[in-house]
Amino acid sequence: MAYLLWAFIVVWLGIFGYLYRLMKRSQALERQVAELTRVQSGADSRTPTATARAHTASPSRAQGTGG
């Protein structure tokens, strides 16, 4: 009976271990996506078009930053 128990324990440990690994990879990808989004939005805000858009949308803030 001990062998039977060990066999089922090993199988379920294997399956849950694999699921855990998939979950960790998924979390790492989410972090990467967040990082890429942050980098991309930072790059967008530095472009001249984005700056011009910001000036048009909020003149007072534009003056503040410009002064």
């Binding site: 009976m1 062998y3 039977l4 060990w6 066999a7 089922f8 090993v10 199988v11 294997g14 399956i15 694999y18 699921l19 998939l22 990879r25 998924s26 990808l29 990467q32 996506v33 890429l36 980098v39 991309q40 790059a43």
Partner: protein, 207 residues
């Protein structure tokens, strides 16, 4: 899955010769079956990749092979745990065991090859060829039990299933449950692979 566990532990009668240890069979055989399905899936997706050149098929092939290796590892471990009390040894160089171990090495090698750095398209093409050739070992495993005096019992023959009806039902429940789990795992893994591919493309675009 709960039904499969109920079938294995409660519904199926105790085998007269081997006793309770035989119940490993209700998880060992479905795992082996799903492993074959996974490697077949990897081979089919590899053929589709070579035919179309679409990276989605490459991701599918890799996902199926990865899950196949997980299942094949569990098959080898459960088989070994079964063999110890029944045959008196953890491992024997039986033709079926050897061909199955070869299958495990082939697809583990496939995963190592994929993990190696290199040009993505070239790597994908090599991996696809590897997955297709590797699948040739599956019929060898299947037929070695029938024609090469293997120790493993032959359950399915062209005429009948060599099991009592209650055992057959327990086995069928296991086959269905593990096949469904495979479908769920491969779906999740393919989604993850596609996401990885897109993130990589975005990161390369930013670099």
């Amino acid at each position: 899955m709960l039904l499969a566990l109920y079938g294995a532990f409660v519904f199926a009668p105790t085998e007269q010769v081997m006793g309770d240890i035989q119940r490993i069979f209700y998880v060992h055989l479905p795992l082996a079956w799903v492993g074959f399905v996974a490697f077949g899936h990897a081979c089919w997706a590899a053929i589709r990749y070579l035919a179309t050149g679409r990276r989605e098929w490459d991701v599918t092939s890799a996902s199926a092979a990865e899950i196949g290796v997980v299942f094949a590892t569990l098959v080898i471990i459960t088989g070994s745990i079964w063999a110890r009390p029944v045959w008196g040894t953890w491992w024997t160089w039986d033709p079926q065991l050897v061909t199955y171990l070869m299958l495990w090495f082939i697809y583990s090698g496939y995963l190592v090859l994929r993990a190696a750095a290199g040009d993505d398209d070239r790597r994908a093409r090599f991996a696809a060829v590897f997955a297709i050739i590797g699948f040739a070992d599956v019929p060898l495993v299947w037929f070695s039990a029938r024609y090469l005096r293997a120790l493993s019992p032959v359950i399915f023959t062209s005429h009948s299933i060599g099991l009592a009806p209650a055992m057959t039902w327990a086995l069928l429940a296991g086959l269905v449950a593990w096949s469904l789990l495979y479908a769920l795992l491969v779906r999740t893994r393919v989604r993850l692979g596609l996401l990885e591919m897109r993130v990589q493309a975005l990161a390369d675009g930013d670099a």
